[in-house]
């Protein structure tokens, strides 16, 4: 393998006696550093360049045909737009609620499915199944199920004498209906992460606690919960990033409607793009980037700090 690593030139120089091989650091590396070049080039072209370009275009009026620098106007428009302020609040509601519900439900399901229950393997598969289905497919399916007149949900409610609401057509309900579907879709992944964390907890702790006479609740509260903290951190970070950036499900189910009732940052950005306001839309992306970073980075730092304190 070593013969593969040094470039020809180095090899030639090394054979000269008494001379110190130049660029020793490179010679000692397992692979020459220019092996990263293709990857770096692709990363530069596909990730770094567009990121910096988008920071520039966010300050322009951009029609695809013309670019005109207009300073902070796009951001001013974005923050004075009533649609955005609604979308902003909805983004926080969506991210917070889906993340919270996935933690609580994911942990409960995880505990249930790591305990000795009947048909455990089957139930694990069932819980995880929605994660495998395409988001668009889930959205279309639930849009049909939640139809206020022909939908299966309200028809089932009608059998027991309940007049079901317009899940997706009532402005006060639409966002929460989508949140429920998103939790249904994503809780399998949270449960899976929790299951991995739960089975890693040594059984000795539980046995020792049992000997001391701790109840099931005490064992859960004082052993399980602290020791699955790494899993909780992972679930929080993953589901919060996903929730703050959620687009597909909302777009398929309501298109941000009725009115602006279920608009989030991502759908507002998409709409600006569809209207041909490319500069404004890019400014929205920068806002989303900053918002997600501003929430996730401190949270990540805080959660990991707590973890090391343990």
């Amino acid at each position: 393998m070593a013969t593969l690593a040094p470039p020809d030139s180095t090899e030639a120089v090394v054979t000269v006696p008494g001379q110190r091989p130049p660029r020793r650091r490179y010679a000692n590396a397992m692979y020459p550093h220019w092996f990263v070049l293709p990857g770096a080039a692709i990363f530069l072209v596909l990730f770094i360049a567009p990121t910096f370009a988008s920071f520039y275009y966010a300050f322009t009026r951009w029609t695809l045909f013309d670019v005109e620098f207009i300073g902070f106007d796009n951001f001013v428009t974005f923050f004075t737009d009533p649609q955005l302020s609604k979308g902003f609040v909805n983004t926080l509601i969506f991210g917070g609620l889906t993340s919270g519900l996935k933690i609580v439900l994911g942990l409960l399901i995880g505990v249930l499915l790591t305990s000795e229950i009947w048909a455990r393997g089957y139930l694990r598969a069932v819980i995880f199944f929605p994660v495998l289905v395409s988001t668009v497919g889930v959205g279309i399916t639930f849009q049909a199920l939640m139809d206020p007149y022909d939908g299966a949900i309200n028809q089932a409610l009608a059998w027991v004498g309940i007049d079901g609401p317009g899940w997706l057509t009532d402005p006060n309900l639409a966002l929460y209906s989508i949140i429920a579907v998103d939790v249904w879709r994503g809780v399998g992944l949270a449960a899976l992460i929790y299951m991995a964390g739960l089975v890693a907890i040594p059984q000795e702790y539980y046995e020792a606690a049992k000997v001391d006479g701790a109840s099931g609740w005490h064992r859960f509260w004082n052993i399980t919960l602290p020791l699955v903290r790494p899993a909780t951190t992972t679930v929080i970070i993953l589901s919060l990033i996903g929730g703050l950036r959620e687009f597909q499900l909302i777009w398929v189910m309501t298109g941000g409607g009725p009115g602006f009732a279920s608009d989030v940052l991502a759908s507002v950005i998409y709409k600006q793009y569809a209207y041909g306001f490319f500069g404004l839309s890019t400014a929205g992306n920068v806002v989303l980037f900053v918002v997600v970073s501003a929430i996730i980075l401190p949270l990540f730092w805080w959660l990991n700090r707590k973890q090391t304190d343990l």
Binding site: L4, F65, T77, D81, P82, Q83, G257, G259, G276, F277
Partner: protein, 440 residues
């Protein structure tokens, strides 16, 4: 072994080259004309609206049959979703990859394609003089004319169910108050007075947009002032009507129970079969009624959105979409020859052959066939009396993109008409600023 490292250089270079090719996208291909054979023109088209594809193909077939120098091929492979199609068109025009011709909206949406830079100017062609003036205005900028009409103009307003009107002894209303009392009578008889279909959110805009005739009747220069930011909807007592009328409809309890989720076809079925008395809609939809409910086609009539004065009852007219060519087309003369055909009575006949009589032709020498459906016949008196105004989007480049969401809120009782108008003014300001218009 060192030969492996040496040999891997070309491999990497090849990899980079392949990546670069992939990034460059699927450009070029096709369109090389055999110098001795006929010129082939590609007509790019979205795949969403079947009657549009049928129209395009009828025009191409009629033209191909009429001569042998040029062959027009319709490529209806564009996205069916209109937002996706819009963006594809913009991208193709910006990167000079648009085929020889394409179908697109006239009016305010055209301005976003930056026609001065991207499209073939046909202002100097003879056939343009045979086109309706209002039409030419809807496909022009200060420096050029860009499109020929591929359909007919039609009215937007209320479709109404004629048997229901006869049964209840109602007359076609000429003022908004008369309309409301008709609606009361229909509601009290146990029917849906006004069908709304917010499941297709765009249909929520019809009342607001079709009310523009009343604004125009109160001030013929309103659109010009609006473009210059001298008037707006919220502060003009007539213009605000486009929003407060929608609120009246909700407040009156006239609306169908499932309005929040009903779709366009549900609305057309309701108005055709007599479940509902009124349905605010654009004229093009009569073709769907004629196709899906042929027995009821003559049961559906039309009137414009009534205003305050019976003397001024008129109709707002929608201009049809147009056929355009990109500025960099390789065959400008052949494209112009085809456009001349589209803007001729033969072109009109091809459209009639594909769709039947659908409305008013905008080409000199074209007439509406005698056996026109009821809705089309109901438009004629408005045209004859000159009581027509183009919709605002054909007179001004300013159109706020969120009108449909705002109208869904007004029509659902979430927001009142006045605040809807204010929100829409803000929305229009944003769009005008994005277009870089003076005075906003």
């Amino acid at each position: 072994m060192s030969s492996i490292t040496r040999g891997s250089r070309p491999v990497i270079l090849a990899g980079v080259a392949i990546a670069a090719l992939a990034l460059a996208g699927c450009s070029g291909g096709g369109g090389e004309a055999d110098p001795e054979g006929p010129v082939t023109l590609k007509w790019f088209q979205g795949s969403g609206v079947e009657t549009n594809i049928a129209t395009a193909e009828a025009l191409a077939t009629a033209f191909n049959d009429s001569q042998s120098d040029i062959v027009v091929e319709v490529d209806a492979s564009g996205p069916s979703d209109s937002a996706a199609l819009d963006n594809l068109m913009k991208t193709r025009l910006a990167t000079n990859e648009m085929p020889d011709m394409f179908w697109y909206n006239s009016g305010s949406l055209l301005q976003a394609l930056n026609p001065d830079q991207t499209m073939l100017n046909i202002a100097d062609e003879d056939f343009v003089s045979g086109l309706d003036d209002a039409w030419v205005a809807a496909v022009s900028t200060d420096t050029g004319v860009f499109g020929v009409p591929v359909q007919t103009a039609g009215g937007g307003g209320f479709f109404y169910n004629i048997p229901m009107y006869e049964e209840l002894g109602l007359k076609v209303p000429t003022t908004w108050d008369e309309f409301l009392s008709n609606a009361d009578a229909i509601r009290d008889a146990g029917h849906t007075a006004v069908e709304l279909t917010f499941g297709d959110a765009w249909t929520s805009q019809i009342v607001t947009l079709a009310d523009f005739y009343n604004v125009w009747a109160s001030d013929n220069d309103w659109a010009k002032k609006y473009t210059a930011n001298e008037v707006n909807f919220a502060d003009d007592p007539v213009a605000v009507g486009g929003f407060t009328k929608l609120q009246d409809i909700y407040d009156g309890g006239y609306v169908n129970e499932d309005f929040a989720s009903a779709l366009l076809n549900d609305g057309l079925e309701a108005i055709a079969t007599g479940e509902a008395g009124h349905y605010p809609m654009l004229g093009f939809a009569q073709a769907t009624i004629a196709t899906n409910w042929p027995d009821n086609a003559d049961d559906v009539g039309f009137f414009g959105i009534p205003g305050d004065s019976a003397d001024d009852a008129g109709m707002t007219v929608w201009m049809p979409p147009a056929l355009y060519a990109p500025a960099n087309t390789e065959h400008p003369e052949a494209v112009k020859a085809f456009m001349a055909f589209v803007a001729s009575p033969e072109g009109c006949d091809a459209i009639t052959g594909a769709l039947g009589a659908t409305g008013q032709y905008l080409v000199e020498g074209c007439a509406v066939p005698d056996e026109a459906p009821r809705i089309v016949a109901d438009w004629a008196p408005y045209f004859e009396a000159g009581k027509v105004a183009p919709a605002l989007e054909f007179l001004s480049p300013v159109k706020g993109p969120n009108l449909m969401q705002i109208d869904v809120e007004v029509g659902s009782g979430v927001r009142d008409g006045q605040s809807g108008a204010e929100l829409y003014d803000d929305d229009a300001t944003k769009q005008a600023q994005q277009l870089g218009l003076e005075g906003w």
